[in-house]
Amino acid sequence: MALAEEARQKAVQAKPRLTEAIGEVLRRRPLLQLSVILSPGILWLTLFFLFPLCIVLAYSFATRGTYGQIVWHFTLENYRRFFDWLYIRTFLLSIWLSVLATVICLMIGYPFAFVMARAPRRWRNALMLLVMIPFWTNFLVRTYAIMFLLRNEGLINTALQWLGVINRPIPMLFTPFAVVLGLVYGYLPFMILPIYASIEKFDFTLAEAAQDLGANAWRVFREILWPLTLPGTIAGSILVFIPSVGTFVTSDLLGGGKVVMIGNLIQQQFLTVRHWPFGSAISLILMAIVLIATLIYFRSGEERPI
């Protein structure tokens, strides 16, 4: 009688115990627990990042058919072809313009971030708004706006001619200058925000301590502020450099086909020339080089523990 009662109670309790049991298993196996928590993210990345990347990798070893279709005939030709001076030059130009854009962003962004972080609280939001406002407008519209400014009959040239500073319009659009300007304009907020975050965290009594020990303003910056805000600077530089080096819209619109960057090359291979295997190979080479450069850059900032 007592045994039957006990069995009945066990049956009643069985249901909630199932979830408890799962919980128990997960608690005992932290690795399993971790994979359960991470599974949505892993699934997403596998499906939309790793899988397409594998396709691109496979394409890069394939051959182009007569009509631009993929022929699954293994070849290294796509990689070999990249080391043509024509392509190398394009690649170096991309790197050069991106480095230039990154350095200019840093030179504008660091002082701006500094002022923003040191401004009284009520000003800080207004300044932050100034940084964010461009994001509310479409990137294409903003790029067209720059075109409107730089054209031969654009605002700047017209104004300068009207003032009598110049006789003939200065060609500005469709030059490397225009592309760099577009890159700086487009990616400046990505430089400002991480630097702002690290300056905002910076303890300014350290600057006072350095001053107290005989450091003038420049040395306070060089010896204290700069090294301690380096993580933000590195993050900002990477956030500007990587999209710059792969850009094709900015260089297309502001370079007007005269400034060809690696992004345009890839775009052409996929859309115009329909040589998907070569386009894939360039993409992967670009990715590999940017990855290596970024790792080296990261390392340089990790000399010392902070």
């Binding site: 350290l206 301590a209 350095a210 107290d212 020990l213 450091a215 003038n216």
Partner: protein, 368 residues
Amino acid sequence: MERPVDVELCDVTKVFDQHVKAVDHVSLQIYQGEFFSLLGPSGCGKTTTLRMIAGFELPTSGDILIEGRVVGNTPPFKRNVNTVFQNYALFPHMTVEENVAFGLRMKGVPRDEIRQRVREALHLVRLNGFENRYPRQLSGGQQQRVALARALVNRPRVLLLDEPLGALDLKLRKDMQLELKRLQETVGITFLYVTHDQEEALTMSDRIAVMNAGRVLQVGTPLEIYERPANRFVADFIGESNFLEGQVTRIERDTATVVISDRFPVLAQTHHGIQPGQRVTVAIRPEKIRLCIPTSDSQNEAGALTGTVQDIVYIGTDTHYLVRIDDHTAIRVRVQNAQNRLDSPDSIRRGTWVVLRWAPEAARLLTE
């Protein structure tokens, strides 16, 4: 005693945001080689005073002189003073050695000399062997020593210390107090020490300036400050005091009789300018009062007060009594536990009728 003055403040006032008066007409002279403390509750202006001497703030009016020269708006990095900050402000990306060497490096001292002086400075604060550690790998006390070494290595004229022991626990703080005093005597540099801890100030200082609400209320040696407080704030802030308000009825040589609550005459040492009939406050420290069981003639004894014990608190070294004299007056008395209180239980309990006595010179008349 004519000693050279290292730091002098002449009528210095600092006003923040046009109306917040942080420092209010402060004049001070700090002598060469002395351990001088600015003592006061938080917000009394002591840190602002220190920051003005360091050069982080400029006075709204008045002059600051270091080594006899008006510093005006000389920037901090050109002043011959160094600061030990409250939170140490060690450079987190530099090792102990690099932190200590920083000031010398900024002044362009040759490499070999830097090495030598850094080693000496670390030896002075007993931190040899920690050269290559980073600040976050050190305990609070060790970080404190690095901050000291980093300032002292420059051999400044004056070392400014802004509550440097505030972040340490009690035991460590006591050790560091003695250590700081030892250091100051070893190097012979003038120390200007800011603290809100009266015990700390009394322990270490040669002289103390007590500040409140931006003003300096009294300057003197620890003994003078404690034994002869200039006013009620000082008497209350430094140590503990009983305040009895009353009227002077008689002055006989240097002893005044003051009647409190219109009934009880007590005795206190008088000083210049006290007149019979004047309303005064008698300040008397709890440890200077003797507490006895009354005898038959206690009632008539001059200057003795009688009352009932209202409260007894045992705190280890001492026992505190609260004795009620009348409805308006209760007096705190502190008796040192000279005997083992377990072996000789106190005959005085709550409700016991007791008599309080003190020597007239132990009580002080305050006129404000």
